[in-house]
Every structure is written in C-alpha cells, then in structure tokens.
C-alpha cells in the first residue's frame, strides 16, 4: 500500500515539480533545458503509468489511495485521495504518453518564443491537473483537476497575451467552461444530498444497493443532467461548444494536447466514470445521444467551409466528440472510450502536422495560401495522410474500427441518430481531404518569400508525428470487432454486461460496407472538387448563400452575444446608472427629509419667550391632565 501511495504521488507530483522548476528557475536555465525538464517530468509520469498499468492489468484490482481529509461537510466526508483503476490508468496512458510526445514536439516548435519556460511550466501544470482529474477518488478531486485544466487552457490560449483577441478567446473558454462547471457542481450537490457521498466506489455501492423510490430516481436523473451540462462545457457540446474553435488562438501543441487529445475528453471520462449514475437516468441518456448527434452534424457542416487549417481541425474535434457522446448516450461506454483513444492518436497527429505546416510557413494558417507542400514536407504529409485516412474511417485504420462501432451501436438503438452520425462521418471524410488537397497538393499559393523557405521540420517535430501516425494506423487493434481486448479490460467498471457484443452478422457487415462507402464518397467529392476541378475557397467577401451561414458558424456566437452577453451588459449599465443612483438618492433622501424638517422646525423657535412659556404651560396642562384624569 505504501508503495502504491508513493507511486501515485510520483505520478502526480513530477509534472508539478516540473512546473515549479520552470516557473522559478526556467528563465535562468535557458530554453532547451527548461523544455527538457518539462518533457522529462511528463515522461516520468508516463513510465510510472506503465508500471501501474502493468500492475492493474495483471491483478485486475483497483488501487485506492487516501492522503488526508480535505473538506468536512456534515454528512459527507471528502478526502483528498486517488483511485487508480482500469479506466483511470487507461486515460493516464494516453494523457502522459501523448503529453510526452507533445512536450518533445514543443521543444522545437516553441524555440523561437521568448517565454518558452512559461509555456512548459503551463504545460506541466496542465498535465498535473489532468492527472489529478483522472485519478481523483471522488468527484471533488476530479473537480480540482477539472477547473485546473480549465485554468491551464485559459493560460495557454492566452499565451500570447499581447493580443487582446487571443485573450478574449481565453476568457471565453474559461467562462463557458465555468457554465458547465456550475452544472457539475449542482450535480455533485444533488448526488451528495441523495447518497451522502461523493466517493466513486461508495457511490457505486450505494447506488447498486439502494432501494429505488421515485424521488431518488428523479434526483438521479436531475443530477445526471447537471453532470452532463458539465461535460458539455468541457467537451464542447451544443450549446457550450463555441469556445473550442476560438481556443485555436493558442499555440498549436496546446491545441493538440488540450483541445483535441486530453482535456476535451474529460467530459467523456466523467460520464464513463459515473456510468452507474447515467445508466439509471435513461431519459438523460437519450438527451445525451441526441445532443451528441446534433453536435457532430452541426460541427461537421461548419467544418466544411472553414479556411483556417486549425479551425477545420477544431470543428472536426467537436464533431468527433459529438460522436463519442452519441455512443455514451446509448450506454456504450467502452465504445466511446475506444473512440476517445483512437481520436487522441489521429487528432493529435493532425494538429501536430498542421503545426508543422504552420511552423514551416512562419505562422500562416489560411489554407488558401498553402498548397503543394507534399514535396517540401514529406514526413508531415504522410503522417497527416495516415491520420486523415484514420479519421475518415478508411478500413483497417484505427478510426475505422472505433467509428464503425459507434455507428453500429446507434443503428441498433435509433435509426435517425444513425443517419445523422453517418452523414457527419461522410462530411468528416470530405472536409479532411479538402484540407489535405488544399494543403499538400497542387501548386504553392503563398508568397515567393515563403516558398523559398519551405522545408521539412526538424526531427523533434517529426518523431512525435511518426509515432502518432503509427498509433493512428494501428490503434484500432485494441478493440477488434468480435474480439475486443479493450472491452475485457474495462469490463469490471460497468454494471451492465459490457456493451452488447455485436455478432458479426450480415447486418453488421453491410453497415460496415455502408460506412466505408460513405467515407470513400466523401473523399471522392473532395478529390473532384479540389483536385480535379482545382477549386480554391473564395476569399471572405465573396462567400454567399448557405456557405456564408456555415462560414459564419450559423451566427451562433452572434446569437449568444445578443441573447446573453448583451442583456447582462445592458443590465449592468442599467443597474449602475439607475438603480445604484436611485438607492443612493434614497439614502440621501432620509438625510434630506431630516434636514427639511429641521428647517421647518427652526421657524417654531421664534425666540419669543412669551410664546415658549405659553406652549410650556399648555404642555404642562396636557401632561398633568393625562396623568391624573386619563385613568
């Protein structure tokens, strides 16, 4: 037990130590050293995770570590403790694994930035919080990580803080997340109120043994809904998704690590972690499925017309997250987890690839000014190609297996949602290959200056790309249809029989075929439109009709501004200018009234002693008669 505690502490605290070193000494250590420290810190965590993974997959037992009592609330005790089980270790594997790769990548990518030590300290802090989020033994420890990663996201989106647009994006991300956080808190309150505990294992015990009354079921439903709102905020689902595309203001490694591979999957982690709660709230599950499906479709349609390479990937991320929630909505947690993992591989690879491109073009992100990079950047091209094939669901790449399972699950539960998911998948294939064609094929459309400097990125950038591409290609092997290592590994977590193992019957094969065909169709359209016909998206002013609506993201941001931000600002102004002044005048009014009474009363004091005496005698008469005659 002592050993486990130490391991867990090493796991959590190494990135934190890296953060501290970089914060306090980073500047004097120099850029490369601080980068190495940051990377090594995460790599150590990764190694510890491997040890733990080995231990857990061999023993199958979860490790529970309690450090000390944190918050006392009358009927629930909240410890600062860790729970290392199959789910958390799995999550840790790709958090620290991909985290290490991205740290490595950043050493080269951020080398020109004067605040590189700060960047690494923030990244380390992020990893620290992410690990806390994943291994917390109760919801409140999860919440530390949950808000902590939000903070790091804020810091990293606004990393180039001299640009106020970036700061706005960072602020927006933080506040949108906080809306979700409130939901999560409320969910926690209801759970705490109903079950008197927030500890996962105790919660599970209680829920599995409790006697179900309508009130309790109702509470669970509301709690699940609130928790889902929290997940919406963190995992960028409708209606709280608008921050994620804006979050691309941050450096590209950040987008890869936080806004694609790890942080945004926290919502899925939380739902999976609390699967026993969501299983009891079937109505909420339906809501989750519907929202997931709609998100995936809406984000995919917006992704069709974006011209910023990172924006395309961002909307793709939102869309893929939607698909994961679709799976969660059907109770197919292991399917969602599977997609989380494959998505982490290929999306991280895509983002890093796009980062490599941007790096090569000295900060150019507009795809209209790219093209023909295939020759100059072969490694980047091939790795991105593999990942694009994976995300498009081309057979035998990782995305094929995971996406197919989601669609299959959807098909078994709800045909309309299956159709929506499939359309989103086709669109995914289309816009990914639109991206590929616009970026890597045909002639270069940028300036001569840029063309002159085109070159493949250094090995620190390409090595992570290659590793991720390999994972993206073969990651699907962990959960082959019919023989799923992942399902077995995760089985102890779920109360229901892990998924409904699909028999690979005729339906399944035909579904697979439809999916493959859909993916190929998307690729084909992209090929025709952007390779054969040599189209280049029009410049901003010339966009019209439906594509203008799409290009402007359905005007959702504007709608939110008009619906929420503007009224609050108006109220603020109104309160400040009228209510505050009014209340103040009211208080001064008391003083004014007193003053006025005094001024009027002054006249009574005429100074005429005769009058005073007269009044005095009258008063005396009144008092005497009251005392003696009023009885």
């Amino acid at each position: 037990m002592e050993m486990d505690t130490n391991l867990a502490l090493v796991l959590v605290l190494t990135p934190f130590l890296g953060f501290l070193i970089n914060v306090f000494l980073g500047k004097s250590l120099g850029k490369t050293v601080s980068g190495i420290i940051g990377t090594v810190a995460v790599a150590i965590s990764f190694i510890v995770t491997l040890v733990l993974f080995n231990q857990i997959s061999s023993t199958g037992k979860a490790i529970q570590v309690t450090l000390f009592e944190w918050i006392q609330i009358s009927n629930l005790k909240i410890d600062l403790g860790f729970l290392l089980d199959q789910l958390s270790v799995l999550w840790l594997l790709f958090v620290t694994g991909i985290g290490s790769l991205i740290h490595l990548y950043s050493i080269s990518y951020m080398h020109d930035d004067e605040n590189m030590h700060k960047f690494f300290s923030y990244l380390n802090l992020f990893v620290f919080f992410m690990i806390t989020l994943v291994i917390g033994s109760n919801l409140l420890v999860l919440f530390i990580g949950w808000e902590g990663v939000g903070l790091c996201s804020y810091l990293l989106i606004g990393f180039w803080h001299k640009n106020q647009d970036y700061n706005d994006a960072a602020k927006k991300a933080f506040i949108m997340n906080r809306i979700g956080d409130l939901g999560l808190l409320i969910g926690m309150f209801i759970l705490g109120y109903t079950f008197k505990t927030l500890d996962y294992s105790e919660l599970k015990q209680t829920i599995l043994t409790i006697h179900y009354e309508p009130q309790i079921v109702w509470n669970i439903s509301i709690a699940a809904l609130c928790l889902f709102i929290g997940a919406c905020g963190k995992s960028a689902q409708i209606p709280l998704y608008t921050w994620l595309p804006d979050a691309m203001a941050g450096p590209t490694p950040v987008s890869a690590l936080i806004h694609a591979a790890t942080m945004v999957t926290a919502g899925i982690f939380m739902v999976t972690r609390l699967n026993f709660v969501f299983d009891l709230a079937t109505d909420v599950q339906t809501v989750i499925a519907i929202i997931g499906a709609i998100t995936s479709l809406v984000a995919a349609t917006i992704g069709l017309v974006q011209t910023d390479i990172k924006k395309v990937l961002a909307y793709s991320t939102v869309s893929q997250l939607g698909l994961m929630f679709l799976a969660l909505g059907f109770g197919a947690y292991e399917v969602a987890v599977f997609h989380v993992i494959t998505h982490a591989f290929f999306k991280a690879c895509l983002f890093l690839g796009s980062g490599s491109v941007i790096h090569g073009l000295h900060g150019e992100q507009d795809m209209r000014k790219m093209g023909g990079l295939r020759k100059a950047m072969p490694i980047t091209f091939w790795t991105m190609m593999i990942s694009s094939l994976a995300i498009s669901g081309v057979p035998f790449f990782s995305g094929f297996f995971s996406k197919d399972e989601i669609l299959m699950t959807a098909f078994h539960h709800s045909i309309p949602l299956y159709v929506i998911g499939s359309i989103a998948s086709i669109m995914t294939a289309f816009y990914m290959f639109r991206l590929m064609f616009l970026t890597f094929f045909k002639e270069f459309r940028g300036t001569e200056e840029q063309k002159h400097h085109l070159h493949e990125s250094g090995s620190l950038i390409t090595i992570p790309l290659i590793i991720l591409a390999i994972l993206a290609a073969f990651g699907g092997l962990i959960s082959l249809p019919g023989h799923s290592w992942l399902n077995e590994y995760l089985a102890p977590l779920f109360t229901k029989v892990a998924g409904e193992e699909h028999h690979l019957g005729a339906t399944e094969y035909s579904l697979m075929g439809v999916a493959v065909l859909g993916g190929l169709l998307g690729i084909l359209i992209a090929y025709i439109k952007y390779f054969k016909q040599d189209n280049v998206p029009e410049s901003d002013e010339n966009i019209t009709g439906l594509s203008k609506v799409l290009y402007n993201k359905y005007y959702v941001d504007e709608a939110y501004d008009a619906l929420f931000v503007a009224p609050v600002n108006f109220l603020s102004k109104f309160f400040r200018d009228y209510i505050e002044t009014g209340l103040s005048a009211l208080v001064f009014g008391f003083g004014k009234v007193a003053n006025e009474i005094a001024i009027q009363g002054k006249r009574l004091q005429s100074g005429s002693i005769g009058l005073y005496l007269f009044v005095f005698v009258l008063g005396m008469c009144a008092i005497i008669s009251y005392i003696f005659l009023a009885q």
Partner: protein, 179 residues
Amino acid sequence: MIHIPDFAHATTVQVLFCFLAFITVITAFLTIFSRNPIHSAIYLVICFFSIAGHYLLLNAQFLAIVHIIVYSGAIMILFLFTIMLMNLNERHQVHRPRITRLGAIVSFCLIVIVLITIFINSKPIVGDYDSTGEDFQSIKVLGKILLNEYMVPFEFASILLLVAMIGTVLLSKKEKLNK
C-alpha cells in the same frame, strides 16, 4: 370637596388661616397687577410675610424665621436694589399685545380648571389627622436631621451658594469696552 370653614363657629386658628390666606392671595395678585415694579416688590414682601405666618401657624418656627430672613430680608432687598439700580418705573411699562393677554388669561383659566378638577376628582383626604405628639419640627430636631442625614447636601448647598456668588459677581461686573 373644598371644605368651607364655618365662620359662625370658627376657631381662632381657622380665622387666622383665612385671614392669612386672604392676604397672601390678594398681595400675590397685586404683585402681578401693579404697574410700578417697586409696588410689586412691596406687595411681594407682604405676601412673603403672610406665608411666613402660615409657617408659624403650622408650627414650623425654624422655617418661618429662615423664610423671613432669606426671602424678605435677602431676596426682596435684592429685587428692590435691582429695580432701583435700573431706575425702573411706570415709564418703562412695555406694551403688551392683546394676543399675549388673551393667551395668558386662557392658559391661566386652563391650568386653574385642570388643577381644580384634579383636586375635586382626587380621593377625599381623611378628616382626622394623626398626631403622635412626637417632636418632629423643632429647631433641635431639624438641626440634627440636617447635619446628620443631610450632611452632604447641606455642604453642597453651601458650595452652590458660593458658586452663585462668584457667578453673580462675574456677571454683574462691568466689562470693559473692547475687552
């Protein structure tokens, strides 16, 4: 009810009381209504003497004597000196507006009515008054009480008088013009 003395069978004491009371009231009235302040002062002296008579009637010799000394001797002399110092006479009679008079009469009537009503309404006082025969008001007894029980107030009275004296001197001292 007001007990009206039966004059036919009045004792000496009763007659004396009526006489003194009559003088007291009349001179008090005259004090107020005299136009000349000097006359007022003279009437007031007579009034005070009659009150001293009442004190004697009530067998409070000590007070009667003190009263004559303090009021008739000291206070009234002070009044007379002041009046003479100011050289006040009828010429200084100030004009009294009608409203003042009306007010005065109204409030006078009012307070008389109120007090009389209270007096009538209150419980009748027993006709028999107990008399223990014990000496309670001779100079000897009063002196003991005053200098034992009321020692401290007595001393304070002296301080009061001293302070009043100093105050009077200060107040009436002619201030030099322009400081």
